[in-house]
Subunit: 110 residues, 2 copies
DNA sequence: CCTTACGGTAAGTTATAACTTACCACTTTG
DNA sequence: CAAAGTGGTAAGTTATAACTTACCGTAAGG
């Protein structure tokens, strides 16, 4: 367990609006499950299930405090997502440059 | 049309594995619909539908070339996603720092 | 201990979205 | 202008995942 899943798992996890909402609230400050559930329009078990997905995606960590489970953002998972975005962003910028150059050539050969 | 949706729409869009695959291939270099479909295990209409979602999320742009539609990454949408991630990442780092400080206090007052 | 607080898991329901095929619209070209 | 190439859209099917309620386990406190 606690295995580092590919960065891409974070995108599947944050694809759900409820999970994004949970993620944002945990990012504000660490929160327990009940606290999260009381501020959301879904049941507590639903929140637990979402937190499990976020945890497996490496986006949050769980810290026991008595019977409570306090959830924190895991910066590593978020960082992995940033890197993934950056990689493809840079690739796209490069490709766009090449495309623009090609278009210029075409234009000139008219 | 062509309205800029909130950055968060990108996460819903990239939550689907097939759309991530399409996004990656478009990031490599601009591609037409048929080219994308021929390299994927789904039908061409499915690719069209995915591209529509990606476009509405501001992640790709469409450039007409005769009867073909060539799709490019739209750096603005990707940039918006990076900013969203960064915002919450920084918020979390700050909150984590505060949490660590609190824990230290607790430890010391034992 | 017994009770209360807290939360994870199982099982079942249901809404959705990812797919398919069929069809149509548009350019380009012979 | 007919034919071929390309791709968007409509309609319908189906797999899935987001939810619910019910139940159980564990830690803290009287």
């Amino acid at each position: 367990m606690a295995n580092i899943k590919p960065a891409v798992a974070g995108f599947s996890a944050l694809g759900d609006p409820t999970r994004r909402e949970i993620f944002q609230r945990v990012a504000e400050r660490p929160r327990a499950v009940g606290e999260l559930a009381s501020g959301l329009p879904v049941s507590r078990p639903a929140v637990s299930q979402h937190l499990k997905v976020l945890k497996e995606a490496g986006l949050v960590r769980e810290v026991a405090d008595g019977t409570r489970r306090v959830y924190h953002i895991d910066p590593r998972g978020v960082g992995a997502m940033r890197e993934w975005l950056d990689k493809h962003w840079r690739a796209a910028l490069g490709a766009f440059q090449k495309f623009a150059d090609d278009e210029t050539e075409k234009e000139q050969s008219k």
